[in-house]
Symmetry: C2
Subunit: 472 residues, 2 copies
């Protein structure tokens, strides 16, 4: 072990920077604990290489010694994908020191970044060049582009701009053999062989270590304006979505669904936030229109569409923001749902997606099943309706203890995931599989698909050293 | 051989449909000849299964007998990807009879199709439901969705809607072992393991046979309006592109570059088409703005942007269409370039892409190199500038015979592809590799990338029966 760590230190220049091969428990702790604080793994050491070449050298050494490698970015994942298991066999390879914005090309509308670049820094670099990098999610101040790519992160920009996968043009990857694949192409069209890029994206570090990427930029819209619509049901939300898409096309940049229970939680825990309606309605949709022309254009488009929806009997009431500032206030209602949930107690979370057209039927089917099986449990239903992505969470009835409530987790998961499967949905829309959902994956994927994945894993990582125990 | 064909006939029901296992030379001929008529291969037979299950049975039989399979859709490819080699060992497996639109979901905005569905039929089915299927290319009346997916086809809609890859949500594939992978998911977000979908897309039938797909639909724009802008240089075209993207965002749905030589060819061979300008300018850009609001909105947006470009000295002159009908007439100038080229004689074609920001420098670098090496040869430079995709073709000087001209093909390719490589571009933007560019691929890809591709090929098709000799 000591000899191995000495060789690691020789690679990452420990003489100058002794903190780049960490093996003291206190120093390793933040790298071993998962983001939600529910699991802490064990490792031989945490390696913090300072260059792509050092990553490659470390991987070659690990391959030689058969040491498993857990790649890690900001360690903000929700499915135990970036922490090692309890065995203590693995090393954590953190890309945190690879954090440069390598280049930004405003005419090609691309930014080339190290994998360890913090998402917010990439957003800021784009904004400074008059561009938009549209990937945006709650952890953006801590998460890294490498982690976003490894998990194909979603977030609030997906409706218009797609997932992280759709924002990536090229990758640089260190293979499990310690070779460097330089695929940092900034091309919108390239049909020269197999799509290796998309194979590494979403593979959660099990096929290699992403060390750099070319990401797409977009022109920044002139203004984004939101409205809150009150709705009788999820079915009305779907009709509103269709109407908005027909009238606004790509200018519709957000469409979020929230149940009355969700906004009730927000009102309870954050009473200072606005309450746009005097009455309570079963469901709400938060709509966002962005215009490349002007704020006035965005407001007019949104007002016209919500009026038409009101006239058609699709919405019961609507509050349209009159400015960008008012729009931010409406977004806060949506953004505070997870915070209000956390303030209210433990939750059993599901990150699911469905065909958009099935969502109303899915909710109508699944909510009664849950109520029947778990009397008094509360459904906390909200999410990115335009993407078919629901955070279909379950909260305890008043008075039940956390432990007694969480004892139902597997049974609640089974009801929800079986329903998701029956409706042709996905048990992981934007969080990935990691170690947490590995058994669920094996349960719901076909043997043909699992065997194809295993064949690819065996072909690219025959020693099985890359993030073992994750996904497969 | 006879026993093998008898077993094929037993699978595809030859008793009723004797024309579904073709082995007569005349019957096979259209399946063996490539689209441009430059090569004719040989095959044991052409198999025309009528169901996915028949495809799977045929593949199992071929795997057992080690018979190579060349999957074929509309056979409109330009790189010899869908025709067999001259050995006569292979069978052609045509998916032409799998041509149903299986389902269309206007709320989920998806259409589920058989691989053999003709692209134009899919467009028409979408239009009948009030939606847009934005994939559009010259061969759309003959090519199939399966072929579009296998080659990740591009076309004129890429700037706004992406390549075929970006339009696909789910696939059904028959593996080289004759198993059926049912991945027909209609989900915008799904992070459950490796991205098999994108691995099959663009693999040109070398990893399996695509038999079905779920494709994205979009709201149909209310109107699309075009303008023709006269420009001093490709650099001015890039400045115009940036300006248009900033002002129009996703409403910019087309940006095509054409040199004076291109429009001169069109004027020569199609004198009935409009000539928007009295003078001749070095370059032209065709711009298209689409609006989900109204024709008037599209016209106003386009007029505002072209005026601003004129005031900024970026364009020398501009003609904005006043209606959808005038817009179609301007598009015809662009669409007639390949026809005018063909009418004028043989061409040496290049389907290349570059970082958008490098295009002006690439042309300025490469055009003199060609003129120096091949005095009198004419550059026919046009393409999808917004995608970084140029059709950078070379026409003969007057008076030279076809044979003498085409003798320079390899040398001309070398000059162009070396320059593409030096500028970080791709030697195949939207046509693929097939058998035609296999040697070029091996020349320009890194050994690391080639080895990764070979590892994937060996893992998924260990017998090497799927479309051998293509790509790798």
């Amino acid at each position: 072990m000591t000899a191995f760590l000495d060789r690691c230190r020789a690679i990452v220049g420990a003489a100058r920077m002794p903190d780049n091969v960490l093996d003291a428990p206190a120093a390793m702790a933040p790298y071993l604990r998962d983001w939600r604080g529910r699991f802490t793994g064990s490792a031989r050491a945490v390696l913090r290489p300072g260059s792509v070449d050092e990553v490659a050298q470390l991987v070659r050494l690990c391959a030689q010694e058969r040491v498993p490698i857990v790649p890690q970015g900001g360690n903000t994942g929700l499915v135990l994908g970036s922490v090692p298991d309890a065995s203590g066999d693995a090393v954590v390879l953190s890309v945190a020191r690879l954090n440069r914005i390598r280049a930004l090309d405003p005419v090609n509308r691309t930014v080339t970044v190290d994998a360890g670049a913090i998402l917010q820094h990439v957003q800021e670099a784009a904004a400074a060049a008059g561009c938009l990098f549209p990937l945006s999610l709650a952890a953006e101040g801590s998460c890294t582009i490498g982690g976003n790519l490894a998990t194909n992160a979603g977030g609030t920009g997906v409706l218009r701009y797609g997932n992280t996968r759709e924002l990536c043009l090229g990758l640089e990857v260190v293979t499990p053999q310690g070779e460097i694949w330089s695929g940092l192409r900034g091309l919108r069209k390239d049909n020269t062989g197999y799509d290796l890029r998309d194979l590494y994206i979403g593979a959660e570090g099990t096929l290699g270590i992403i060390t750099g990427a070319v990401m797409k930029l977009y022109p920044a819209p002139r203004a984004s304006i939101t409205a809150l619509a009150a709705l009788a049901s999820p079915d009305h939300a779907l009709r509103l979505l269709s109407l908005m898409q027909d009238r606004a096309g790509a200018s519709l940049t957000g469409f979020e669904l929230m149940s009355a229970f969700c906004l009730g939680l927000v009102a309870k825990h954050f009473p200072q936030l606005p309450r746009p309606f005097a009455a309570t309605y079963p469901y709400y949709a938060l709509l966002e229109i962005s215009s490349s022309e002007s704020e006035a254009h965005a407001v007019a488009l949104l007002e016209g569409a919500t009026s038409a929806a009101f006239d058609a009997g699709i919405v019961l009431d609507a509050a349209v923001a009159a400015s960008v500032a008012q729009s931010r206030a409406l977004w806060q209602l949506r953004e505070h749902i997870p915070l209000a949930q956390a303030a209210d107690g433990k939750n059993i979370k599901h990150d699911i997606s469905l065909p958009v057209s099935s969502i109303a039927r899915f909710i109508a089917h699944t909510e009664p099943l849950l109520q029947q099986a778990f009397p008094g449990f509360q459904l906390v239903c909200f999410g990115h309706l335009g993407d078919g992505n629901l955070h279909f969470n379950v909260a305890p009835p008043p008075g039940i203890g956390n432990e007694a409530f969480l004892a139902n987790q597997a049974a609640v998961n089974r009801v929800v995931h079986d329903a998701v499967d029956a409706f042709g949905g996905s048990i992981s829309a934007e969080h990935g599989i990691g170690a947490l959902k590995r058994d669920e994956l094996a349960r719901y994927k076909s043997p043909v698909e699992l065997n194809l994945m295993r064949a690819i894993k065996a072909a690219l990582d025959p020693l099985g050293i890359m993030n073992p125990g994750k996904i497969l």
